[in-house]
């Protein structure tokens, strides 16, 4: 360390470490609390409240959910389907549009860019959107109702256009001279050259699809087509809603025991979020790699 010019004093180093250790604790602590609550006996929860160490250890919440895992597994299946199909299609369409409007020799380049940009500023609103989806496209109770609406995001198109615009035009011209068709240029040259941008956008898009629930809430009635996040949102929303309106509901005598209890809700959170959290660090490695590869080449 002393030999290098980047000398950092011992205390400075300790301070930096301390800062990041504290930051990590702040991030990890709530998560540990959820794990702990999910493993606590419900009665102990009522009596002692939340704690980092379960007052009375119990796995009953997990046992209960995993006893009939049908709903959870189906939701996983739906979400994986949406994310996989959606991300691939979305990336393909985004890069195709972006490529077209990034070509300097394309005549309609400016009006089309404005056209794409325009949709970022204005939208039809919820009700027309709903009418289009249900009455013209007949997409109610279909997983395509979740995939289609976010297939093309104008924001991502513009990012992609910015990236592709930096690819030297001479490359394309020389390929043309060599007799390559437009399709060949796009798939064999442009796309491989855009890998860093594709990796970044792909991750964003995949996250969006993975976390999508609002379109599902609107269009999915069939319980077999519910994606993962909606499963979670439904339970949490309903509970919140009923709590906030308890003044009215008191008189009706709603049986709150129909809702999953505290430890079961937390167990569900773990089962929904858990796998993704273990998978993400592995993907992150490639993600960072992709970025640096791109920058070195550039």
């Amino acid at each position: 360390m002393n030999a290098s010019g980047l000398h950092i004093s011992r205390t400075g180093n300790a301070m930096i470490h301390l800062f990041f250790i504290l930051l990590s604790i702040v991030i990890i602590a709530p998560f540990l609390l959820i794990v702990s609550v999910s493993l606590t006996d419900e009665k102990a929860l009522v009596e002692f409240g939340y704690s980092f160490v379960p007052a009375k250890f119990s796995t009953i919440a997990y046992e209960f959910i995993l006893q009939s895992p049908g709903a959870l597994l189906r939701a996983y299946g739906n979400t994986i389907f949406i994310t996989a199909i959606g991300s691939v299609l979305s990336l393909l369409l985004t890069s195709m549009v972006a490529y077209a409007i990034s070509r300097r020799d394309y005549g309609l380049r400016v009006p089309l860019t404005v056209y794409v940009f325009f949709t970022m500023l204005f939208s039809g609103g919820l009700v027309p959107f709903y009418i289009l989806m249900t009455q013209y496209l007949h997409l109610k109770d279909s997983l395509w109702a979740i995939i289609l609406p976010s297939l093309l995001s104008p924001f991502y198109v513009l990012i992609m256009k910015g990236f592709m615009g930096k690819i030297p035009h001479e490359l394309i011209e020389s390929a043309k001279v060599d007799g390559a068709s437009e399709w060949r240029i796009f798939f064999r040259m442009i796309l491989p050259l855009s890998t860093p941008a594709l990796a970044t956008l792909g991750l964003f898009i995949a996250f969006n699809y993975w976390n999508e629930w609002f379109n599902a809430l609107l269009f999915i009635d069939n319980d077999k087509l519910v994606p993962l996040q909606l499963l979670l949102v439904r339970i949490m929303n309903t509970l919140d809603f009923l709590r906030n309106n308890s003044a009215y509901i008191q008189g009706l005598g709603l049986d709150m025991s129909q809702l999953p209890n505290e430890s079961m809700r937390m167990a569900l959170v773990i089962l929904v979020a858990g796998p993704m959290m273990f998978i993400f660090p592995f993907f992150q490695k490639y993600f960072v790699q992709g970025m640096t590869v791109g920058s070195l080449k550039g």
Partner: protein
């Protein structure tokens, strides 16, 4: 390679079309269609006589805590019952309460076709949607197709559903009363010799609270919950609109500036200072696990028969005594807490009304919807009482479907609960302004401001958290500045018109 180029143009065109529609995440491409189309009711003009009724499918949206795995099974059973009777099948569409308002508001604004729809004053708001024209006026349909239901439900409840003289929804008949008072944990009442019959006002409770404070460490003498703590004007002789109950001139009073309001806030503040009231009263949203069973007295708004048994669990499983402070009364709010309306997009409103009549009169059908199948979803304890099985695969709330008095009782409720409740409903004190509904269109902005100010100050003042002398004048001042007088003038004008029409 002409073909390929065409394909390319087509794909690009598609992509552009998708972008064009995707601002803010809204888009659609016409190419893909994977799902079934929206349920279509077969269009046919219904006729009055049963023998010639053409077959139709009805769609029914209602709220549930959780969509049940056995939903399809119940739907099939329901259809077995109703098919021979009204030659219709029903598609049940249970939606969780958390999504219900968003989903139905959108579907209804988009003109989606459905027939029956559950509505309330707290979810998929009844008044708002009536004004928007989402529902059909029902007077004629009720007279023609639901005479028994009409008979069963008291007139004042029908009055509560009226908008400009017309009924827009059939109330799901249940407890329509409200009665204000205290819940006292029996254990403590016995221990310190509290005589429930001697408690007539807040002040009468003070010695008891003092004893709890001195002798029961860790127990909150008087548990208050911020958003639920209101100034109960009926207790002080005002009705819901601030009119004195015996006032023949129907003058609207400014409740917050009344001496009673001030006295109440001062009393609460004194109790708060003495440590009778939980310190977090202004922010607590409900009596949840952290407060469960750790208090001696709380406030109750709907003291309906048998409620003591129902809320036992909230009180750490201990018995409670209900001490009512007011007479049994009924408010418009408690009458429109759960209703079923017919959508204006319904193609078969007549048949929908027939189904409603059936649900409200056929015990078998109602119990099937509410409690599922015997042996699988519930156990019968006696002819009338069932024990529900929360893990059986079907749960629903009986009050979203229809007249609960036709249904089973749940374990723990007394056998005569329904009879007693019905009697109470019919004997309830009907406030003079009952049936009047304030239309705030003209003062919408002012009303929204007032509501925001109330939400800010009420939990602080009425739980005694802040000093009344300092905050009450501030509160009144803010209310005045926000247009209290304008709202009152408008309220008075509408009320006068209503009185002139209805009170001769």
């Amino acid at each position: 390679m002409k073909k390929v180029r065409h394909f390319g143009i087509l794909t690009l065109g598609l992509a552009l079309f998708a972008t064009a529609c995707s601002g803010g995440g809204n888009s659609g491409a016409p190419a893909a269609s994977g799902g079934s189309s929206a349920p279509a009711s077969s269009a046919a003009s219904p006729s009055g006589s049963e023998s010639t009724l053409p077959e139709v499918t009805l769609t029914w949206y209602y709220g549930v805590t959780q969509v049940s795995p056995d939903q399809q099974l119940i739907e099939d059973e329901v259809n077995k019952i109703i098919k021979p009777k009204i030659n219709a099948t029903v598609k049940l569409k249970p939606i969780d309460f958390g999504s219900y308002t968003t989903k139905l508001n959108t579907a209804s604004a988009a003109g989606e076709e459905f027939d029956l729809v559950w509505t309330a004053n707290w979810a998929f708001n009844y008044d708002e949607n009536v004004k928007k024209g989402a529902f059909l006026p029902l007077d004629e349909l009720i007279d023609q197709y639901a005479p028994v239901t009409k008979e069963t439900i008291p007139q004042f409840t029908w009055d509560a559903t009226k908008h400009q003289g017309e009924i827009y929804a059939v109330p799901n008949y249940q407890t329509m009363i409200s009665r204000y008072g205290f819940n006292v944990i029996k254990e403590y009442a016995d221990k310190y010799g509290l005589d429930p019959s001697k408690v007539k006002s807040f002040e009468d409770l003070e010695p008891f609270l003092e004893q709890i404070k001195q002798n029961e460490p860790g127990i909150i003498p008087f548990m208050l919950v911020g958003p639920l703590t209101k100034f109960h004007q009926f207790l002080y002789g005002y009705d819901d609109f601030g009119v004195k109950l015996d006032d023949e001139t129907f003058k609207v009073n400014f409740i917050e500036s009344s001496p009673e309001y001030k006295q109440f806030a001062e009393l609460m503040h004194r109790w708060f200072e003495k440590g009778y009231i939980n310190e977090d009263a202004s922010t607590v949203k409900q009596i949840d696990s952290s407060h469960n069973g750790k208090f001696a007295v709380s406030i109750e708004y709907t003291m309906k028969p048998g409620y003591e048994a129902e809320i036992k669990a909230k009180n750490g499983g201990r018995d409670i005594i209900g001490i009512p402070l007011t007479d049994v009364t009924t408010t418009r709010t408690s009458n429109i807490a759960t209703l079923t309306a017919i959508s204006r997009t319904s193609k078969n409103p007549e048949r929908a009304m027939m189904l409603l009549e059936l649900v409200n009169t056929d015990r078998e059908l109602f119990n099937l919807l509410s409690f599922g199948l015997e042996g699988k979803h519930h156990e019968k304890l006696s002819d009338n009482v069932v024990k529900t099985n929360p893990n059986g695969g079907y749960v629903a709330s009986n009050w979203v479907f229809g007249n609960v008095f036709n249904g089973y009782l749940i374990e723990g409720q007394a056998e005569d609960t329904w009879e007693v409740t019905k009697k109470l409903n019919e004997s309830a004190f009907v406030q003079p302004t009952f049936g009047f509904n304030f239309d705030d269109t003209a003062v919408k902005a002012e009303n929204a401001n007032l509501a925001a100010i109330r939400a800010e100050y009420e939990p602080l003042l009425l739980t005694g958290t802040v000093d009344t002398n300092e905050y009450l004048p501030q509160y009144l001042d803010k209310l005045k500045k926000a247009g209290m007088d304008k709202v009152h003038a408008e309220l008075q004008r509408q009320l006068d018109a209503w009185v002139a029409e209805n009170k001769k």
